[in-house]
Symmetry: C2
Subunit: 234 residues, 2 copies
Amino acid sequence: MTEQYKNHDHILVALDCIIFGFDRSGLKLLLIKRDFEPEKGNWSLMGGFLNRDESLDDAANRILHKLTGLKNVYLEQLYGFGEVDRDPVERTISIAYYALINIRSHDKELMDKYDARWFPIDDLPDLIFDHGEMVKAAKSRLKYRASHEPVGFELLPEKFTMPELQILYEGIYETELDKRNFRRRILSMDILTKTNEKQKKYSKKGAFLYKFNEDKYEEKVDQGDSLTFKPIKL
Amino acid sequence: MTEQYKNHDHILVALDCIIFGFDRSGLKLLLIKRDFEPEKGNWSLMGGFLNRDESLDDAANRILHKLTGLKNVYLEQLYGFGEVDRDPVERTISIAYYALINIRSHDKELMDKYDARWFPIDDLPDLIFDHGEMVKAAKSRLKYRASHEPVGFELLPEKFTMPELQILYEGIYETELDKRNFRRRILSMDILTKTNEKQKKYSKKGAFLYKFNEDKYEEKVDQGDSLTFKPIKL
DNA sequence: CCAAAAGTGTTCACTTTACACCCATGA
DNA sequence: TCATGGGTGTAAAGTGAACACTTTTGG
């Protein structure tokens, strides 16, 4: 009977979001300064609790929106963290999600409200609880995902240059890439559209801007082409 | 303050185990017949609820042990399933785990107690709730894991033949493999020990038995060798 | 002696890697 | 005019895929 459901513990379910961003200086993580005890004043992932009437995905989206003002963002469930003492206040499990956002697109006011800051991925402060572990898992998942699907473009503006794309992949894979091999490989996938515009912000010669062509990509997937975005050794 | 923790919903956290086994006829899944309403009499994954004083991993191990009598088994967290209406009785999220066990090693009495049965992976009955989705995710994760780490051996007895190993990988990848290419590839990894024994159960000539050499494997991992167990197309 | 499964090498195509110089332009 | 970042091709090595016959032995 439904007896089977009685007498079982009901537990707080948290969600924590690892939010990735990117600019030319590299991959970044959006962290907030926790404003309540315990660990008040320390850096933390953006989190919240699951409500009875929402799905895990909905809750993660709600929490991400609360900090960034963004909706319809790339968001993927990562892992359930469930050590008994992971939260000193109360038994809580946390389902971690990671998000990829365009670092220019989010709400600046909310940044202030939550005391949020972008940190370079390789220079993070100590994080509360098991959030450091979550970040580690997210980096590893992002490496995997980026080598199988074109998720990198989620981190870029609509138009971007080849050097920018390369810096992004170098950040994700934590390795340097040969630019000729990188360009050849990316272009041979035939999922980018080259525009006639040049970006002259970062060089005198200027670099051509490209757009990700989602339709072309979907077409290829439908045809069963397996595109890989594997790292290329320096 | 810890006010932040009050007034949040406390929710039932379930765990469900996708249990893989293998014999020469292919990959198998261990399912139980549900003996309470709703969905009484229908096939289901082995599951249970998280207790306040145990970690997610501990709970999954406990549940796996309850059905199989086994401990120290390969068990990996898969995904958190959290649709609002996934369980019609009460709001429940479920963290799915998958296990790889030696199909000969588990407790037969418990099989009867739980009305459990092994099903061929490609001929499963309808499953309750979202368990079908869980199985799909587990198959996909197993493919991935098996192409990066030597998890296949978890499903085999200590000694096994090359043809058996090949049938196993064919089951995991859901594809047929060329036996010359398969053997070459596996043997070139240099992580198997050939015994002098032959298994004559399945052929007149007999097939040599091999053992997985865990020490050698660890050595290679430490040396940074990246071994891949990728599928080989027919 | 034969049926049935185990075992064995080579070739070709393709992919990956390594590597160095010219171009365009603003200061 | 020169410093800076953008852009380009080729050859060599390595990897993946295709493919067919011989061996062993119990019945």
